[in-house]
Structures are given as C-alpha cells and as structure tokens.
Assembly symmetry: C2
Homo-oligomer: 565 residues x 2
C-alpha cells in the first residue's frame, strides 16, 4: 500500500498520528450527511446536510447533524468544509454550520456554490462567509490536506467525490453517485481518476449505499427523455411536471421536451425559480429566454402550448402540487384534460401523502403520470452492479458503507464481501463512531454523539425527545385540564370546576360525560382531607384518569390546577 | 342480455324496480369494504371490514364504514350480509354491524365463519347472532336474492366471489382475487363458473382494482415455497417468520418448510394462535400435533431446530416483531445468527415503521430477509393481465372498478376500455354513490354519506374531524395554558400566574423565556381596564400568542383561565 504523495509533514514523524474519520450524520439514515476527517490536530469536513423528519417527529421542520461536540473540541483546527453536490441532504444545514464556525472556509463546485449562496444570502451570511469555488477534477488544498476532486453523475449537475491523500494511502469518498453512461449534461463519472486512485493504492473507500437492495444498474437519465416525449405527444391540455426544486437535469429534460413539442415553460415556486436562475447563469441549464414564461402569460396561452414546472412531488401540502390538489393555489387550478407528471419517487415515509395527492389530482380531472405508469423518474444512486464496479475500479483495502439506513449499509457490506473483500476489512458503523486508519489498517475508536438536532420554527435543539414524546401523547388522546377553587378552611369546592380539553372528545357534544367529570372532581375535592396542600391536585388527577379510562379506554394527559383560597 | 332466472316476483311487474348498488366503503381507499345491494324494498350486504388509519388520523385505532344512514332507512328490509373472505378489511367491522342490526343473518364459508366466530365471541355476540355457513360454489338464497358463490384465490383460503341474479342479468362481485394456477391449498379460481356467467349474460362486474398499476400476472404463492426453502437451508440459528395473523396459506408454507428442514414451529401471539387453531380444526391448516411447540419448549431447543411465527410485519410497535425490535418482548429476544423473514409488503403509509423495525432487528444482530432480497411474499391481488382475463372470462356489459384508491380505480377503468369495453359502460364512482341498473343500463343515482367513522378506544364515532384537527395542532406545537387570579376590584394580579405546557418547549430548561411569559401576562392583566369580565382572558391569550410566535415562530394552542376574586 503506497503512502501517498501528500501530508509529508507527517510522514517523517517517528509515530505518525492516525487518520481519523467520524461520520457526524448520514449513516443509518437517509439525510443530514456530514463527515469529519482528522490527522493530528488538523481537520476538515465533507458536507453538512439536513434530514426530513419521520412521521412521528411531530412538529419538527427538519433535522441537522449534531455537531455541538465539535464546537467544544479545542484540540481540532478545522480548515474547511467541502461539498459534494447541491442537494439539501448535503448542503441544507450550511447556515447552522457557518453560524457555529464563522471563519470556516467553504469549498464547492460552481453550481453547488451557487445554491449555497442562495442559502447564505437568505440567512444574511453571504458577505461574511469565505466561499471558494473549484471545478470538478481540481485538486484543492485545505490546510495540510490535499483533496483530489473527481466528477460523478447523480441527479443534479456538478457533483464530485474526493480522493483524500493520507500517509496511509488514498481515502476515496464517493458522495452520492451513479455510473450514468448517457447523462443529461454529458459529463460522465470519472472512471479514469477512480482507476488512478487504485494504482496508487486506496486504503479506504467510503461509498454510497442508498440502492444496495436494488439489483442491476440504475437506468440512465436518458430514458426519461423518451418517456417525457411519449407523454408530451399524447397530452391534449396543459402539462405540469412536479419534481424536486434542485433537480436541474430534470428541468433541462422538460425544457427539451417542451421545445420539441412547441410548448413554453413556466417555472413556478420561489426555490425552483431561484435555482433555475443560478443554473442558467452558470450554464448548467440551457434554455432560451423566449422559452420561459410567467404564470400570467401561461394563463393567457392555449392549454396545449404550456408546461408548468412545479414543486411538491413528495406530497408536501404547502408546495405547489399540494395546493393544486386541494384547490388552494392562488393563481393556478387543475382542469379536465391536464396532464400531471410526477418525476420523482416517494421518499420512504412520504408514500401516503404522495398517493393522496395523486388521488386528489385525479378527482379534479387530471391525467396523472407517475412511475410505474411511465419511466418518468430514475434514481440518482448506484444499484448493485454499479457498486461492484466502484469496488472493482478503486480496489480499496477497506470499505465503510455510507449513505443509507442500517439495512442498506449491511447489504452493501455483504455485497463487498461477496465481491471478494475480506469480511474483516468491511466496517459497518453508525453516526458518531470514529474510525482510525493507520499503516496496520482500520479500527473503530471512540464514540462521539451522533444524534439528532431538531429544528422547529426558530428553535434549534430546544425541542428534544421529551417534548416529542409529549406531542405523541397529545396527538393520540389530547388533554384534559381542570381548574378548581377550594376553600382553604373547609376544603370544599367554592364554585364549578372549569374544564379545558382539546383532542380528547368533542366535549360540547358529550354533556353527560362532562357532568360525570364535574361530579368526579367535586366528590374528590369534597371528600379529601382538609390539609392536603399539594396532594389534592394529585388526587384530582388520579381519580379523573380512572374515570376517563374506564369510560373511554383512552389516556389523555390530565392536569389540575387547585386554587386554595 | 338475459333477464336471469331469479327474482321472478319482480319480473312480471309492469314497471320493474331498479337494481341498486351502493358501495358504503372500499372505493377510493384500501379497506373497510362494504356494499349494499337493493331491489325494490329488499336488500343485502356484502362484507363489512375495517380500514387502518392514515398517519395523520391521530389516535384513531381503526375506521369502520359509515352505515349510520342505513340504520335510519326504514324503506329497506335487509335480509343478510355475505362475506367474501376472512381478512380484516372485509370482516373487521362485523361486531359494529351486528350491534346495529342484531337480527341480520350472516353468511360465510367455513374458514371465514370461523374467524367471524372469534370476533363475535370476543364481543359476547356469538350466541345471539345468526351465522350461516356455506361451501364455496354453493348457491345461497338471501330473502328474494339468489347468490351463486364461486371460489377465488387470494392470500387466505376459502375466498369467494358472488354472482348475484337480477332481472337485468347477473351482477358479478369478484371480492379480492387473483388467478393463482398453483395455489397453496390446491383450489383454483373457478374459471368455469365465471365463463358460465358470461354465457347467461353479465350485466355488471364489480372487480378488484388493487394492483391495477402493476403489469403482468401476480406470482403464484408457489414461488414462496422455493424462497423459504432457500432461506431455511442457509439459516444457522433460529428462524422467525413475520406475517399477518390471518395469512393461513403462509403459515402452511412455513410449516411445510419447517418439516422439510426438521424444525418445529412455535406460533406466537394471541390472534395468530386463535386463527391457526380454527384453520386446523376446519382442515385449512395441515400440521401434525408434534410439529407445534410452545414458546417455553422453543426456548429449550437448539436454535437450528425452531421456527417462530410472529405478527408485526407492518412494523406495529405493539405486535411481536415490534417488541422484539425494541427489546420489549417478555419471553423472546433477538440474537446474533437469528434469521428473520418478513413475509409481507408494507401497506402504503407503513413503510417508515416497517423499515425502522428491520433496521433495529439488524442492529440486534439478526439477518433480515424481505422482498426484494428474496421473494418471500407475493400479492394476493390480480395484476393487469389477470384483470384482463377476468374481463374476458365474464364479458360484462358494464364495469364498476372496486377495491382501491382513486388512482387504481381510474387505471382499472382505462385498462377495461383499452381491452375493448365502451367508455360509457365503465363507471368510476366513490363511496356513497348509488348505481342503478335496469334494462337500459347503468346510471349513477343519488348519493349517500360515504365517510369515515373513527373508532378510538371504546368510542365509536365520537372522535370526528374537529378532534383530529386539534390533535394535529397539539402534535405540531403543543399547548400553553395560563391560570391567573385577579383582584375583582383593582383588576390587578393577586399572585404569580401558573403555567401548564406540554409539547411546546421544555420550559424547565427555558427559565428566561418562562420569565418573559410571566411578565407578558402580568403586564396584560395589570394594564387592562378594571371591568373587562370575559374579555380579559381573550386579551391574555392574544398577547401571549404574539410573544410566543415572535420568539419561537411556533403556534401552540394557548388557553387562559382568569379567576376574578
């Protein structure tokens, strides 16, 4: 195994420090990717993304990697953060990172940098942030670290992976990738560079596991062109295409189809419009000025002359498609003869909302096209054969499967062993586990926190597990709160108990039950001993719980306020 | 079109009444199947199932069809309810139906009747209910109606569809079906009977649409036998197979595999054990006494000698698999080298919970096998080619697609038209729409309510949309309630406001914010005019809302109780 050409300042040291890798997010989950790399007292990061909440993370807007421990680690000098591509799960938490480390330089390819700028600008952080732009294929120096970027295909242009030079060989980080041989933007995954790393000796590969349960080879984005063409040819009225705001290759394909079928394109929604603007400016979206129209212009054109690009392909009620489905969009509506294309797959957990949206659009008269009805979407991630190809191209000594749920990481590990790797050289770890690489190999070292930081409204991290658990109980059975005024001397009720309840039963229509509750409280209070002090309210809550459970088999949260006066 | 042989009492009437069909549930949704059939003043029902709640139907245990309007319809004499098969979405609401119509006779095949008996017995309704058992293929007379039952394949034995004789031809109801040519229990879908109906003239077909977005032909249950054999051969330790409690064909296949690989079977969980007991008694589950062991016996046997059948394949936290995944099962645990097979597909909406369960089981060291890793599950519903075959066998004049979301119903309709049916003879309707059949054809008539009745705890229908909406808000941002004592004469605060809050922020750790809240309340109360009466509490709530939103960008429910004394 070659020692690599860089980090020479360490190579002559008697006892070389270990090269350490700590995934802060992105392992055992889909989202919030972020990894720390360290050698001696120096370090850098790759990516800083967000994750969307599970259905039972009530009220949470999004989740960021837990890098709070890193803020406290004074033994690491962070030299920068490099981004692989512009998707939310890789760049979405950038403003949180910049707030914590205002001096930290950012490194990204032009399109990724353009999308980062939008985020930094919206958070008023653009002027104070050191954002460095490089081209895919460039070698970048980050403090003592030399990173060789290489182009990979995914579902957004300008994606890179990194070859990180260490005293123990190259560490290859794939980022999200697939081997698309006919990509929309022409540039292929950099086979030559990957093979080159192998010649120098890849000590460790960190590779995308997202599709490790899918056999074969992910279809090329090129198939979508054909599918769009078929759908466009048959569409009689307007066409609406829903996809992720950042999926610029898809926007390009829709523009191409529109041009071939003599339709104009209207890009709706703030985020998608902003992203398209940047992609056009940087040359990643090839569309003539006269192809683009506003919603107002689109409304005045014949139905068969327009295509709308909309967001909301995951069934989000607040995005354009969600509003169209429920008739809440201020300017647009869905009409008989509209053709609506969902160019996306539901992210696990979103299926219910996606299919509900589709059903509602059909109820409004639209013809809705989605996979499997037509191949209007392909994955941006490598399937099993591509994962084998990545292993065969880079010939890594060690593998750490990244990006994916636990099941994906384990399947990737199994695939690597089936492909000839030694089982002891394949390490499945979870967020927060530090992996140490040295001349002898890979070892799992100490553990850092690798948890969730919930962002809810303007609060970051103030909503924790306890609050979520309370929300879960409230969501299930609601609450009942009673307030009673008690005569301090006699210990008797002074007036009618007041009852506030939500999410339990509709008490206005349950007058008998309400009366039972009032009687239960009155009995408890009037029968209780005089000098109960704090215990009277516990007694009220206990007896009320029993009554409510025996009558309804439900367990709302129960509170009482006892005013002794 | 032949007039059929039955219902002769109507055939001589000068103006024959229309044959009416009203889906009460099961259209535009997966679940709670129930349909009313009427001629003149007579009627009968087919099926009465439940539906599982969507992720945003907080706290709802299950949903039953809304047949409350039927209880009030004194113009219909109901003669019975016939069941197609024993799955929850077709029989699950039977006790609710029997409570509403205690005299109503039930008709079912032996296994379905066995499963109905369990439900009726648990609800103490068995003795008073008139349950009639018939064999698949039998013709049953229900009041003036003659129904010819015919066997269909699905994923539970003893399934039937019905040919209903009307003055206007046969109305064929498929129930859930597929054309399995090598079913586990040997009996095929009754091709001959279906073709026979065609010869007499099928006026209308009501056919299963569940898989209308899937091309080709659903795989036979026979493929599962092969997959189980492969997995059993490789398994080193214990095997656990998770599936639906009522999937008796699957239990049979696991028993067969266990026998071939010299393992004993332990059926865990109350419901699955009960169902297996009945299926054995009735001859639908072929298993020798010495093949079955208890959990206690299983614990004392070598790991490679046992198979556990468990429930929880949909990721339900309270079922056996969910408890194993989180280490909460009292008798069983998951060990290194266990092989766990999920013989099921996630029902849409359950993906997140299913994959979370799988990830946790893998974390505990188990090898988890699920589709697509192995073909350990096949659908019980017809795919597109089978749907075409059903149309070609029965040659219906009219079609109403049933069983499926809106998107499935529309795709089924499209398929029928592509297959040669006239578009005007294919009618897509939703729950509550009454379809009228007479000599001239099919017409959509008046509309009945077709909504949801939520069952939560022991309450049926007392939780409505308003309560669910409140639960949604509570789930998102929680609530804050303040109680203040105010001097009636001066209008000033008498003591510190008391604050109760859950699901908002963890107030114990937000002392500064709590202080802000207290000050906000004090300022509002002390500055308000003396004789505000009821308005003081509105003012407190308004000002507090503003403070909380500006500080947190959240909108918890806010309540105040003002004691003027």
């Amino acid at each position: 195994m070659s020692a690599g050409n860089y980090c020479l300042e360490y190579s002559h040291m008697a006892k070389q420090p270990k090269f350490k890798i700590t995934p802060i997010g992105g392992l055992g989950e889909i989202g919030k990717n972020m990894t720390l790399f360290e050698l001696g007292g120096d370090g850098f990061l790759i990516d800083c993304g967000i994750m969307f909440p599970a259905n039972d993370m009530h009220g949470v807007d999004y989740i960021i990697p837990d890098f709070r421990w890193l803020e406290e680690r004074e033994d690491i000098r962070l030299h920068g953060v490099c981004f692989t591509h512009g998707h939310e799960d890789h760049i979405g938490a950038v403003t949180h990172l910049v707030k914590a480390f205002p001096e930290l330089p950012l490194y990204a390819t032009p399109l990724t940098a353009g999308l980062l700028q939008v985020k930094l600008k919206n958070a008023r952080l653009l002027k104070t942030t050191d954002l460095n732009i490089f081209e895919a294929g460039d070698t970048i120096q980050i403090g003592p670290f030399k990173l060789e970027s290489f182009h990979v295909c995914h579902s957004i242009p300008d994606c890179v992976g990194y070859g990180v030079n260490t005293p123990y060989g190259v560490v290859v980080v794939t980022g999200d990738y697939k081997f698309d041989n006919t990509p929309v933007h022409g540039r292929k995954t950099d086979y030559a560079r990957l093979a080159g790393f192998a010649q120098r000796g890849v000590a460790l590969l960190l590779a995308d596991s997202t599709n490790s349960d899918k056999t074969g080879w992910t279809q090329s984005e090129a198939v979508i062109g054909g599918a769009l063409d078929r759908v466009f040819r048959q569409a009689k009225g307007r066409i609406m295409v829903a996809t992720f705001a950042s999926l610029m290759s898809r926007v390009q394909q829709v523009v191409n189809a529109a041009r071939n079928h003599k339709r104009k394109v209207c890009i709706t929604g703030y985020t998608m419009s902003e992203y398209a603007k940047i992609a056009r400016k940087l040359g990643y979206l090839n569309v003539a000025d006269d192809m683009l129209i506003s919603i107002g212009q689109a409304q005045n054109m014949p139905a068969h002359k327009v295509v709308f690009m909309v967001t909301g392909s995951q069934g989000e009620p607040s995005a354009v498609l969600g509003k169209l489905a429920s008739g809440r969009h201020r300017q647009l509506d869905v009409r008989e003869n509209d053709t609506i294309i969902l160019s996306s797959h539901p992210i696990p957990g979103n299926e219910e909302m996606v299919y509900r949206t589709i059903n509602r659009l059909i109820q409004r008269g639209a013809d809705v096209i989605y996979d499997p009805i037509e191949s209007v979407h392909v994955s941006g991630h490598a399937c099993q054969e591509e994962m084998r190809l990545m292993l065969n191209l880079t010939q890594p000594k060690h593998l750490i499967p990244v990006h994916g749920e636990i099941r994906h990481l384990h399947l990737h590990a199994k695939l690597a062993v089936d492909n000839g790797m030694r089982a002891e050289n394949v390490t499945v770890i979870e967020n927060g586990a530090t992996v140490e690489l040295d001349g002898r190999g890979v070892k799992v070292g100490e553990r850092q926190p690798g948890g969730y930081v919930f962002v809810d409204g303007s609060g970051v991290g103030d909503v924790g597990r306890a609050v979520i658990r309370d929300r879960e109980i409230l969501a299930k059975d609601g609450f009942v709160l009673v307030s009673v005024n008690v005569d301090q001397r006699s210990g008797k009720l002074l007036d009618e108990p007041r009852i506030v309840s939500r999410g339990f039963v509709y008490l206005r229509e349950a007058e008998d039950f309400l009366e039972q509750i009032r009687e239960n409280i009155a009995t408890t209070v009037n029968r209780s001993r005089r000098n109960l002090n704090g215990n009277r309210h516990t007694l009220v809550e206990e007896n009320l719980s029993k009554l409510i459970y025996s009558e309804t088999k439900r367990r709302p949260m129960i509170f009482s306020i006892v005013n002794e006066m």
